[in-house]
């Protein structure tokens, strides 16, 4: 059986004042029906761009899918017509965004915004859509959903708004749900509630989830499999347990080392030295080489490929050469 979502050698470029920069470089991922894929990496590594590519929402210009393929249920999306993409968005693939505070339209009631999503894809009247919206608000754990449906976004808290976003995203029972850092803007107790809700939704609706995050705790709790991204490339991919317990790539090891561990008695928070290089300054070698303790000449001149070696696939010369 083929995967629900297959991304193969996806290249996305952006025209900037530095010329065309490569935001995604040969990204390949797949998501099976009903599973959760965690995509982790620092800000600017291409996680969100990957998600937006699937939704056909890359701002264009300046962005452009320069090559590769995205298949949802076997249907090629990179060449789909705008009308077909509109039919897919919200119905077959839906997305939850990072900023619940600004992701809802301030001048419409939340009920109307959910009902709109329903009416865009199902032949139902306004009354019926509104009743469905209220039922969804109830389903995502919003108390007195009848009254809340008539509220405007500014009358709800951040956590409530994210629940509204989730209700909107699942309103047409999509098979594919992309959650782009759904809890970044929320406080910790609310984060846990939202993850619980996503787990429930997945169980009830049978949706596959792509969870984009830089929170390894969220990965541990949610993900079946993990893809680690760095500077527009997937550098490591395996089951969540494998990546968490046996990270291969030095960057993945760094990320895992950064998880604070009270049991070990860590005094200070650890970090990976340096920052992600600006995309227009990427050279011929491994993008992580400048920050890597194991880098040698080859790392600075030749891009490592994502290849199975040892425990699971990682794009690293040092791993593949057995140096670490």
């Amino acid at each position: 059986m083929s995967a629900l979502l297959e991304i193969e050698d996806l290249n996305v470029t952006f025209n900037t004042r530095y010329g065309a920069v490569t935001a995604l470089d040969s990204v390949s991922l797949h998501v099976n029906a009903g599973e959760t894929l965690g995509v982790v990496g620092e800000s600017g590594c291409g996680k969100s761009i990957t998600a937006l590519s699937v939704m056909g929402l890359i701002p264009s210009p300046p962005g452009r899918i320069a090559g590769g393929s995205i298949r949802l249920n076997g249907e090629e999306l990179t060449t789909a017509s705008p009308a077909r993409m509109r039919a897919i968005r919200g119905a077959e693939a839906a997305m939850i965004f990072q900023e619940p505070m600004t992701s809802l339209n301030p001048v419409f009631t939340v009920g109307a915004q959910i009902a709109e999503a329903i009416m865009l894809h199902q032949k139902v009247g306004a009354d019926q859509a509104m009743r469905a919206a209220v039922a969804l608000l109830d389903r995502v754990g919003i108390p007195s959903p009848d009254a809340r449906a008539r509220d405007y976004p500014h009358q709800l808290s951040g956590g409530m708004r994210q629940r509204v976003m989730i209700a909107m995203a699942v309103s047409c029972r999509p098979k594919m749900l992309i959650a782009d850092e759904p809890t970044t803007a929320l406080d910790v107790t609310v984060q846990a509630q939202i993850f619980d809700l996503l787990n429930e939704i997945q169980r009830d609706f049978g949706a596959a989830i792509v969870l984009i995050t830089h929170d390894m705790g969220a990965i541990a709790e949610m993900a079946d499999r993990v893809a680690v991204m760095y500077a527009g490339r997937v550098i490591e991919g395996a089951t969540a347990d494998d990546v968490l317990d046996h990270p291969q790539h030095p960057y993945a090891r760094g990320l895992i080392d950064c998880i604070p561990n009270i049991a070990k008695g860590d005094a200070a928070l650890r970090e990976i030295p340096g920052v992600v290089p600006p995309l227009h300054l990427l050279g011929a070698g491994c993008a992580f080489a400048a920050r890597c303790a194991h880098a040698n000449n080859r790392c600075h001149t030749e891009k490592p490929k994502l290849a199975a070696h040892g425990h699971h696939p990682a794009a690293c010369h040092a791993v593949q050469e057995g140096r670490i």
């Binding site: 939704m55 929402l57 509109r86 919200g90 965004f97 900023e99 009631t109 865009l120 976003m165």
Partner: protein, 325 residues
Amino acid sequence: MTASFFIRRIAYGLLLMLGVVILNFLLIRLAPGDPAVVIAGEMGGIDAQMLAAIRADYGLDKPLPTQLWIYLSNVVQGNLGESFFFNQPVATLISARIGPTILLVLTAQVLSIVIGMFLGVIAARKPNGPLSGFVSVFATIGYAVPVFWTGIMLVILFASVFPIFPVEGMRSVRLRDAGPIAQFFDVAHHLVLPAFTLAIIYLAQYARLSRASMMDVLGSDYIRTARAKGATEQSVLFKHALRNAALPILTVAGLQFGNLISGALLVETVFNWPGMGRLAFDSILRRNYPTVLGVLFFAAAMVVAANILTDLSYRWADPRLRGRE
């Protein structure tokens, strides 16, 4: 809640009107020129005794605070005084002319908002496209050109080159006995040039403003959400974005209403539109204080009413403002 807000706004409006009346009254007395001398001039030569008689007749010999008090108590009772020149009550003079002025001002306001916003939205879709460039150039020119010049150019163009629109007056004499529908189209036909002349500055301004406002809104997260749920481009632009982008335009349109009225006075003079503009112009030249004050009173009332309407429409358009002061 909205009712109490409405009542409070009307109370503020009345207070503002009182201030405007007092200020107008005092300002006009500070201006050089003596109405008694002008009236005497109309009568054709005069001596000092008659001048004093005229002053006594019109109450101009009383101290200024007394004059102000008499004027205010008359205004409160709906009496705006008598015109020296026409020998008619000012209220009668104005009520015969305010209808055409309101028609002209409202038409220009609607034209400028609707066309301006439409151009702005279209331009914002492709900020680097040719239409966007056209809107910018058109807006700069439209904003820079004085309204009386635009009016005169349009008169020349449509009087001699393409005589398709009437350039003078509000009705055709030969249609004076026609049915209401024919009269309606006749007035609308006469309205085209003056309304466009008056609208063009504001149209240009609203086009620029809505272009900027739309570009700002189109980059926001909730527009991405609308696209992510599969909304059509048309719905994204005209439903999700425009309602938000219209908020600053509402504000500016409300503030500009006063300028629109003063612009209307000029346009009426150019197109011989039978409104308050001509009356104001002539009254100022004749030092006809009661009429000038009356025109200013009605202009101020229109601005105050427009501001109240702006406040209400703002609260309708932006739910975040409801239930706040």
